[in-house]
Symmetry: C5
Subunit: 358 residues, 5 copies
């Protein structure tokens, strides 16, 4: 248990963005931020360029050449890089600040020539499904994404760019942004599925062998569901706003696709709430299983006591050493006593059966 705890402690980031009251617009990265790796995709309908490790200069060149450029930064450990990319793409200062203060709620913010979108994705490796913040900037010819940790939620989109099939290569940066958001939202499904399976396994376990471990595990699942929920509810709002509100940077067709993405978020919320209710129900089942088990134990205890305590009393009587106990001399006392004791037992067993304790 202690191993698990210390691990939780290590991962937990402070909630505060900075010391309360400090000046806004400061780019102070989270203390455990990783060193950034910048990757770049530039593509048009026919060709594409992929750079696994790009520097700002390469980004500038790609912007000049390719119809759509996607720059992805894994790790927020270098505030200078963030500032330089911000200057290169002309991003708003408050947005840049939110990139490194990784406790933002999912939201969308419209600036004059770019949109800033914050996503929160469950991090399957983290304790209790703590979520990771993904920042996405959408401009006229670029998409810029920042991830806290290198993850593979975007891997299938990379494959689609490389493959060159489907709409993606022919469409603009808004469609790329949609594809990334969609991949992010859908990354909740495997996590949810795994939680659903855990709940199902737990259901069998709780009914068969209710133990303390089950409640602790159930509590952990409920915490994970709470964490998922904290990420997906504002994501739904954000997707609703994005698919509803007109912005020249997002085409009508893409808005239709985002509506589909919104539907997925609602589906995830539906499932989440159902799982939460099932988990609550399981706790009830557990508690009643425990009290049933207690009941059963009590019944055995009562039956044993009720059968033997009176008998022990009876045999105690004739263990007394009084000089004048007429029964002791009688010839048939002993067998008669056996008879009495037997009938006491039989009578009690009959009584218990009538009470349905057996």
């Amino acid at each position: 248990m202690s191993a698990r705890t210390s691990r939780t402690r290590r991962r937990r980031q402070p909630l505060r963005r900075a010391v309360p009251g400090t000046s806004p617009g400061q780019l102070t990265p989270p203390p455990d931020a990783l060193h950034p790796i910048v990757s770049l995709f530039g593509y048009g309908p026919d060709e594409h360029l992929e750079l696994a490790d790009a520097d700002p200069e390469a980004v500038r060149e790609a912007l000049a050449r390719w119809p759509v450029v996607w720059v992805n930064v894994d790790g927020l450990g270098d505030p200078d890089l963030v500032a330089r990319l911000g200057a290169l793409f002309g991003l708003h200062r408050l947005a840049l600040e939110d990139v490194v203060h990784v406790h933002q709620r999912p939201k969308v913010e419209h600036y004059t020539d770019h949109i800033y979108i914050v996503l929160r994705l469950p991090d399957p490796g983290a304790e209790g499904l703590e979520s990771e913040q993904i920042s996405l900037f959408l401009g006229h010819n670029f998409v810029l994404t920042f991830q806290e940790r290198p993850g593979d939620a975007f891997a299938p989109v990379r494959e689609r760019i490389r493959g060159g099939k489907g709409r993606l290569r022919a469409a603009g940066p808004d469609y790329l942004a949609y594809a990334l958001i969609d991949a992010g939202v859908d990354s909740n499904f495997p996590v949810l599925e795994s939680l659903g399976e855990q709940l199902e396994d737990m259901e069998l376990e709780i009914v068969d062998r209710p133990g303390r471990g089950a409640v602790v595990a159930l509590h952990a699942i409920r915490r994970s569901l709470l964490n998922l929920r904290r990420g997906i509810w504002p994501m739904r709002e954000m997707l609703g706003a994005l698919s509803r509100d007109a912005d020249p940077l997002v085409g009508d067709e893409t808005r239709l696709y985002l509506r589909d993405c919104y539907d997925h978020a609602v589906q995830i919320i539906d499932l989440l709430e159902t799982y939460r209710e099932i988990a609550a129900g399981l706790l009830d089942v557990y508690l009643s299983s425990v009290s049933n088990r207690m009941n059963e134990i009590m019944k055995v205890l009562t039956i044993i006591s009720t059968l033997f305590i009176p008998l022990t009393f009876i045999v105690g009587i004739y263990g007394m050493n009084f000089h004048f106990m007429p029964e002791l001399q009688w010839r048939w006392s002993y067998p008669i006593l056996w008879g009495i004791m037997l009938s006491v037992v039989v009578g009690m067993l009959y009584y218990f059966r009538r009470k349905k304790w057996l």
Copy 2:
């Protein structure tokens, strides 16, 4: 129990529509999809045609000839067929995709010359009333429905087409769509009625013989109610939108009927919520029954112990082998002791009666 589990496992479909991040518009049917069977109805006020197994060519001919054509596809196992029917009826690509990704929430989507409606009906054969997705396309002269499994929710509508009485044969495809939706919504009633009866039986059982089985069964009912609820709430929204929003494909008269259908959905929700509260109340009754029973057992245990343990102590005293115990020689010790023991018992019984433990 294990049989039941494995069955659950077999039926459970993965939640994900596809691998997250794959291109939208792909028609990947669910892994356990059945091979499709296409049936066709064409009718006008006076005549009708019924084909139990139709191919796309037959559909094309029927569309040319009959005022109203209803094509029903049972089973989603053949994506090519779905694509060909989509092309034949001019359906939107995103809608076709939702047909085969069978975890949609009930919704209505208006396209330029057709409406796409998703229904979810409880599948009485499935574990925990998992719901089945029905897709319905309504066009100028056709209704196209897709079902996951051949079911009989639509059987009465087929009978009404064959019979030729009532409004159905004389009315347009919008009325047929209404009739199908109405049959779908109303198919919740028998399921609810059966759950209501189970709850009523459970109530008697819980009061008479509270056992572990009851809680597990109650939990199963609550899960079923949750599943029904997950289907019917968005159905209500969808019916509200359909009966409220003007669309040239749905006549005013049909909208009035859809309003009636909406009322049914609200009625179902009312019942559902009432059943959920009753189920929660039953759990309370169960828990209190169990603790009452425990109480009763404890009382018996206490009375037995309280009566006999002191007596056993008393007889133990005179079983001691001390050489100098004056009472042992006295003539009346033994009968006097019986008197003392009797009065102890009587005194205790009086005390218990005053405490209302008897």
Copy 3:
């Protein structure tokens, strides 16, 4: 208990209006519908006519002669009669259908020359306060009401027509409709009052003698409150709509009275919710009473065991038959042992007192 159950079963009506999927507009009465009795009132400011058993012909004549005609039908067993009255008064087909499908929620529907209102009143005779559906049609010069069972909610209104005092005889059919609705809504008060008294009695009983019966009774009250609630919430909406929306059939003055009626419905809901919370609170009190009682029993059990089990062990020691037990020969062993045993008892009692178990 079985008698109660079978009675419940007899009264319970199927939830379904009809077989799902059948054609709408069919007048299939509920299976246990009673044979209808038609009564008629015709009145003006000065005179009135009362017919206890009227046929459609008499209704037609009364319509021609009296300023206001009220036809009341008790029992829905004759669909033909409903259809004939529908034709006579020119009622809409969907409304007529809802009259016989007695599971409608309270609602108001405006047709071109009549208003259709559905009320649900608690049926004090029914198990769990199942509600009865009352249908009310309001036209230019008539009010037509359908009741499932002959009841006396409308009796005071009849008296007021006969008496001829107050506004009723001078006012139009809208005021009559208001008077009937008001009588219906207010019929919830005595039912609520009786539930409130039951809750109060239960409170005393639960505190004094918590027993299994109390929980079952509490559960029954909660079910009744749920049933009442299911009727009165939509009634509130309906009354709000009726008093707010302009309709030439309802005068402004009557709308003011309906507003008063709406206030009553809100008052009923307030009380209902308060009673629901009190009932939930009583369950908590019950559960804590039971566990307190258990606690007390356990304490007695523990004290008995703790006092006598060690003593029994001590006397058992000197009941052993070892040849070499020096204590047995000593002169003062027996009185000394009594002293030891007494001090053990006193010590324990002192310990229990300090623990506050006595």
Copy 4:
């Protein structure tokens, strides 16, 4: 307990306004209504008149002479008086009816030349803080208030009229109405404060000595909070409407003060809901305290049984009277047995310590 009950019974008023279905507009006072006492204040900036017992004629005269007249009626036992005052001030019939039917929710009703306001104030003397209805009519130059019972919520306002300082004497009747409403709303604070103190005391008691009395007292507090809540929620709505909606009878400045009054109502609701949550939390603490106590008792019981029952068995063995038991003759049997028994006890105590039961 029975004394308390009978008192509750005596105070409880029937919920119904009248027999359901009777004609509206009837002035039937509640059965236990007190005989009315009419007091009168007439004032202007410089002078004031106070009559402790006024008749309608005196009211008429005061209306003619003073800029602002406040008539207060304590007790609703005389419907004629209510009717005469209604005629004198030109009040609406429906409003007068609501004055005597004392189960109105707080509300405001705008009539052509007066406003009718219903307040509900907690009655500290009543069982469970049952509330009292105050009716307030505001006209061009008068305020007319009706109270069920003579109470002192308005006493400070009387003092302010007599004192003649502050805005009150110089302002119009709308400011007087505000002052009365404000005094009424604020009369919830001492009641809440007392409940808060009771909760705090209870918290200590429950943690230290959890007993059945605590739960019953907690239930009583929760009922009182429910009753307060039933009065204050609609009061908040009413104050919101009053401070928002324009009415020539209420000046803009007074509306600003009413907004302040609305803030107080919101503050009261905030506190109320916090107290409700604290009370619910205390029940949890109580239940866990009880089960902890039970746990402790069980531990003692188990330790006693576990220590002595095996020992009693051992000494029982050597109390048997078999002729051939070699141990009985051995010289060191008795001391060896003591050794065995001691080591059994020590072993068990070690085991309990490891299990943390000691």
Copy 5:
């Protein structure tokens, strides 16, 4: 425990602003208000002035000279000072009254030439995180703040004024007001973080060693969360209004920053609700831990009783003194009896193992 209580008592302030019904606009400070200390900052882009203890005259001078003046008053014990500052800055009477009546909910009120803002900040030193009221007035060239107690929430802002870096010194009083509000809102983070850590520690403790202290501590955390929540919810509304509604005193740029502040409040609420759910879940874990422990104890008790009580009965039989007990003479009785007793024990242990009690 008593020390803690008396401390709570001392700190608790009466809820009431004043005696109900007294005239509004009276400046009666809370009974335990501290003597005020007035500090002053005047600054422009290039210079600044700081006075640790200023009098009204110094304030007047600073207003005339500096572009932005911030006056901060710690302690509300001197109503005259409040009144004089009110007159100096031209503040509204109702607002001044709210400054000293320190139970306001967070709110914003727009007066003609100043805005009055009420904040509530958690007071980490107070019992149960009782909150402190901060009043902030924003005018054309000043910010005036009142604090109940000298606190350090605003310390970083002071540092930023002194430092002269960042936007603060160059911007107007609206930006200063934003900086102060932001510091106030963010002061919730460390408090929340500490509660989160306490919850995490408690989780480990409850799973390992469930004790009564844990529940009491959990209850205290829940109370603290309730208190935080009571402050932060209306703060969110207030910030929403402030960032949305146009007011000439608040620039567009500042409104953008306030929107960021609003996002922080929403983040705090999210965390708060998550913690509340976790705390509720921990109670469930605790209760199930306790009942598990009870279960375990019961099992030991049952096993001991079940093993030894029958054996004690058996040895009791052969302790009887009947003259005619054939078994007593038999040669092998004693070893045979041992065999019987051993097999009884083995049989029972086998039974328990099968029942999974071992």
